[in-house]
């Protein structure tokens, strides 16, 4: 189908496009005989198209038209250039000639304005810098105090811990009381298993067959925390 439509189009659209006879310069590149990416045919590779013959009258006429066009364009360009030069000369913007005294006065005025600006900005800057310095001092002070507090707290915690350890060191097991400690441990087996019910009662021990009594038994304690 594609091929058929291709032939159809080449028959109708191509002659009009190629000749340029239609109102608009349109040349289809899609429905050609061969795709665009194919190279020039080998037989046409070294073919040099013949140049169009120009008669002597035609050539002289074209030359005349060309010369005329170039001359006119050159004159217009020259006119515009001269106009710019004339404008520059007559306008006063760039051509104020000042005496040295006037120049000096103007320079001094500029210096004055600059100095006032600088003074104003310096004042603002000094204020800003002073404020920043104050803020920074306050910040550092705050951090230092916080650090001191932290250190104190840490020291206190450490002291507490040391005291606690000293207290618990009385119950440490040494070589002397090792035998006795092992005896006691073997004699008293412990069980950390426990169950807990909704009322917060604690049932110690491994056996789950305990039934909660109306009176709290020895292995049943209310949860303190």
């Amino acid at each position: 189908m594609l091929r058929a439509s291709c032939q159809l189009l080449t028959q109708t659209a191509l002659p009009a496009g190629k000749s340029g006879g239609s109102g608009f310069a349109l040349e289809f590149v899609r429905w050609r005989r061969k795709p665009r990416w194919l190279p020039v045919a080998k037989s046409k590779m070294f073919r040099v198209p013949e140049r169009k013959k120009q008669s002597e009258e035609e050539r002289t006429e074209l030359m005349r038209l060309h010369n005329q066009y170039k001359t006119q364009l050159r004159s217009v360009r020259q006119f515009l250039r001269e106009e710019v030069v004339r404008h520059e000369e007559t306008s006063t913007a760039d051509h104020i000639v000042l005496t040295p005294e006037q120049e000096e006065a103007e320079f001094l005025k500029c210096v004055d304005i600059n100095a006032t600006w600088n003074a104003k900005i310096a004042k603002e800057r000094d204020q800003r810098l002073a404020k920043e310095r104050e803020d920074k001092v306050a910040y550092v002070q705050e951090r230092l105090e916080a650090r001191q507090l932290r250190e104190e707290e840490r020291r206190e915690q450490a002291n507490l811990r040391v005291l606690r350890e000293i207290e618990s060191s009385k119950t440490f097991i040494t070589r002397e009381n090792l035998d006795a400690a092992i005896e006691t441990a073997l004699a008293n087996p412990v069980d950390h298993n426990f169950a807990i019910d909704l009322a917060g009662n604690l049932y110690r021990g491994r056996n789950s067959s305990q039934v909660p009594d109306s009176t709290p038994s020895s292995n049943q304690h209310a949860l303190s925390n």
């Binding site: 440490f172 040494t174 090792l178 400690a181 441990a185 008293n188 087996p189 412990v190 069980d191």
Partner: protein, 147 residues
Amino acid sequence: MPSYELALVLRQLPRNELMSVIKRTAESILDKGGIIRKLENMGSRALPHKVSEDGLVHREGTHFTIAFDTAPTKIADLKEEFGRDIDIIRRYIFKLEEPEQQPCTLHEEMLPPAYRKDVQQLIEAAKKNQKKKYNYNSGLDYYPFQK
């Protein structure tokens, strides 16, 4: 020195031999410069599965824990030493850490969602991402943006 807990599973032994095993273990800790805080006997009990150790099959074991302090560099030595002991079926060393303090926040969590702090934070975060809406009663009688 950090605190550790040694959990031992010992094979079924008569009492005096059991004592000697525990004493051996405790003394090896003391020899390495450790401190023994507590000894606990968890009793003899059937093992959860049969265990083959050193050519013997064990179905029951005596559970024993030793709470001790020692230098962390000595832990590997201790493990190695307990590993060579044929009366010890299983040995585990745990680091004891301070229990984490978690205050009870149940009364806050039971509040209706609008009063909960985390929900309020979520709403704030969502508001930040919301696109700004045009206020229709701002005096203009037409919508100034593209619809």
